[in-house]
Every structure is written in C-alpha cells, then in structure tokens.
C-alpha cells in the first residue's frame, strides 16, 4: 500500500454546481421501455444533470468557486494555488486551471494546473493540494476544483454510458493552518495495466484524431460510438474494483487504527448501485453510514464525491466535526482513499447553472 499522512490544512468550504437540465432514465430512448425499470433498479440511477452543448468544465467550476469565495469572503487575489481535476478540459492545452485563474481574476502569484484523473480525482486532488500547502506559509489559500462535462465525451447513441453520467463542477476552499493538527490520511494506487477498462482511444497523440475518428460504429448491445467517445467496460471495471478497492479502504483504516464503526460517513465515488454496494459491504460500512447521490445525479464523474458531500451531508458538515472516509475508483485505473475530519465548515453550497 501507498500511504501519506499530512496535517495543518483545513477545508473552509465546499460548493457544487450542476446544470439545471434534468434527464430522466424513465424516458431514455436508448433503453427499451420494458427494460427501463430494471435498469433504474440495478444502477440506482433515476435522473441525471445534463449541460447544454458548449457549456464547459470551467463554466461549472467557476460558478461554484465564485459563489463559494463570495460567501467565505475570500478575494481572488488571495488564492495561491488552483488545481483542477478533470477528464474534460476546456482545451487540450493550456490547462483549464490557467483559464480559470484568469476568469476568477486571481493574481499571477498563483500556481494553476490540471490533474488528468476522474473518479479517484477528488481524493487525488485533495492529496495534491494538501501536499502543496505543506511548503506554503500559514494562511495560504487554495482552490481545489473538480468537475466534468462527461456528457460531452460519450456517444449520444451509447446505451452503456448515456444513462449513467451527469455533469457537475465543484470548488473546495482549503487553507494552510499551522494550528490544525488533525491528520489527512491517504492511500493512493494506480494500475495502468487496466487502462482500457475506461478510456477514449483516439484524439490524443498515440492515436491522433483523423476523419475516421468521427465514424459511428455499432458494437452490439446498444453500444454505438465513435473512436473519440468514452469506452466503459463495466465488467472489467467491476472485477478490478472487487480485487482492489475495498482492500485499499480496509488497509487505510488499519493503518490509522480506525475501525469502520468509528467512521461517521463513508462517501464513495458514485458509479452504480452494483459496484457501490460491493465496496460498501466489503469495506464494512452500513447503509446509514454511506450516503448516495446516485438516484438523482448518477455518476457525476470527477465531482461525484464532492456532489455527494454537498447533496447528502450539507447540514452535518456545517454543524460539526465529522470523521469521513472519501474513496474513489476509476479511470487510470486509479483508486484513492482519504480518512479525515471535515467540518464544521462555514459554507457548503449547492447551486444550479442555467445554460
């Protein structure tokens, strides 16, 4: 296992922004009508949030960040670090974090860069920013942004992806505080051997975009997609996760000497009911301990842990200190877990983006 333990950082607030438009799986024409009930029961996903064409990750994350900073009384010129974790950057280059630095009106005295991760990305993002703050002065303010417009990178004709994904953006305000001594304990893992479980084959530089990249191909089972669309091999993802994910959570708890019954809330990346129930049960958490945003928001990608925190735990995070386990598994393949005390936070916001 690969552990890290860090201190002296606080989470001042969290904001999530989702598109206003709701899509319902009861109406999803890619699924035969008689199968929609089973699909909803087995995935746990009834509805999703879908951004309008042209809405980008930076739009959702800027909306979240501006609202949160205003409520916290943070001025953009105070921000010294912006890390954006996303699978759907606005452009291939430059980093979307740099674009956001400008859009927020931050000073040029600000480090800003993207991290190319997805479902494990919120935890990896926290590890990145908390680690970076270790070398910064007391009082340094940082923004962790995590979000995706997943609906833009999947084929509109792919039954294996369309009914699963939501779009969302999030902003988390973190501050270096020498007086805060409670640990952030992380476990971090990767398996590039399983890269094809979740990937987009063409459009990078290994397999550059060409005319045929836009060619829709029928792969059977309702999967019709282009080589530039996301491929999600559900069975392979499940099997990899079953071998690795709960084991990492258990190892992290063992490392910290905390038992599952001592955790207030276990917040997992929201993939689907099958995989989420597997990791919950095998990690030793009850249903009460394990909130879910699958029903209303599906798989909200890189933002899904933040989405679940804001959607399900807003009041307790604002009211008191909570011992929280955050854990994500996904594209890479990559998986990461965090045990930390979160709250009481000044702000936990949930907003909608009209586009």
């Amino acid at each position: 296992m690969n552990f890290a333990s860090l201190r002296n950082v606080g989470m001042a607030g969290l904001a999530v922004t989702v598109p206003k438009r709701v899509a319902h799986n009861t109406d999803c024409e890619l699924i035969p009508e008689k199968e929609r009930g089973l699909f909803i029961r087995s995935t746990g996903i009834e509805s999703r949030r879908v951004a309008a064409k042209g809405t980008c990750t930076s739009d959702l994350c800027v909306h979240a960040a501006q609202g949160l900073m205003a409520r916290l009384g943070w001025t953009p010129s105070d921000i010294r670090i912006i890390v954006l974790v996303t699978q759907t950057p606005d452009h291939i280059t430059p980093s979307t974090a740099a674009i956001i630095q400008h859009r927020l009106g931050c000073s040029t005295d600000c480090a800003a860069f993207d991290v190319n991760l997805g479902c494990s990305g919120y935890v990896y993002g926290l590890w990145t920013v908390v680690s970076l703050l270790q070398g910064m002065p007391h009082g340094t303010k940082a923004l962790l942004l995590a979000g995706d417009v997943s609906t833009a990178c999947i084929s509109p004709n792919d039954r294996s992806t369309v009914p699963l994904f939501s779009d969302a953006g999030s902003a988390t305000c973190l501050i270096k505080d020498a007086a805060l001594d409670r640990p952030w304990d992380f476990a971090l893992s990767t398996s590039g051997a399983a890269k094809e479980a979740i990937w987009i084959p063409e459009g990078g530089y290994r397999s550059p975009f060409q005319t045929s990249s836009l060619s829709m191909q029928d792969h059977g089972n309702g999967i019709v997609r282009r080589p530039i669309d996301l491929i999600l091999n559900g069975i392979d993802v499940y099997q990899q996760a079953a071998q690795c994910w709960p084991q990492q959570v258990t190892a992290l708890l063992g490392q910290t000497g905390i038992g599952p019954d001592q955790v207030d809330h276990a917040v997992f990346h929201q993939a689907n009911r099958v995989i989420n129930e597997m990791v919950r049960k095998r990690s030793g958490f009850s249903e009460v301990q394990t909130p879910s945003s699958l029903k209303e928001l599906g798989n909200s990608g890189t933002a899904s842990i933040a989405v679940t925190l804001a959607h399900c735990l807003r009041d307790v995070l604002k009211a008191k200190r909570n011992r929280v386990l955050l854990s994500g598994f996904g594209v890479g393949l990559s998986w990461a877990s965090l045990l930390a005390d979160l709250g009481p936070m000044r702000e936990v916001l949930w907003t909608e983006f009209e586009d």
Binding site: K34, T43, N233, I235, M278
Partner: protein
Amino acid sequence: MEVSDFIRSIESELREADDRPFSESTVLRDLPNWSSMLALLVIARVDELYGVQVSAAEFASIRTIADLHRHVAQHLPA
C-alpha cells in the same frame, strides 16, 4: 455444487431476463431481456456468493448457464 443449486442462487438476477424456467442449457444472450447490465448483475452475484470472478474476456466465451456453472466450479476458492 449441483447446477440446479447454482441456478437457484442466481435466479433472482436471471428472472429479470425471462419469466420462464431456466435450465443448464439456457443460452444467456438469447434471454429476451438480456443486457450488459444484467451480465454485470449476474457476475456481481457470482462474486458475492462464491468469491469467483469472471472477467469480460471469460464472460464473452460463456454461452449457457452450464458454462457459467462450470467456470464457477473450476474457480472456487480453496
């Protein structure tokens, strides 16, 4: 493990695919409501009950319930 016991153990997932009785010769992909989500449900159930994993490549070569039963029986943890 008898194949009839195996069928009973995964029956609640298979029922979503068809109301009619199953047998070891039932071809999974020929079931009326068969889908990739159902495949995942069956695989997850097999993992949960028997501790046996079925990869996507292995599942591609599994045709009947008997094939699935054979795979599970051959890979039961010691």
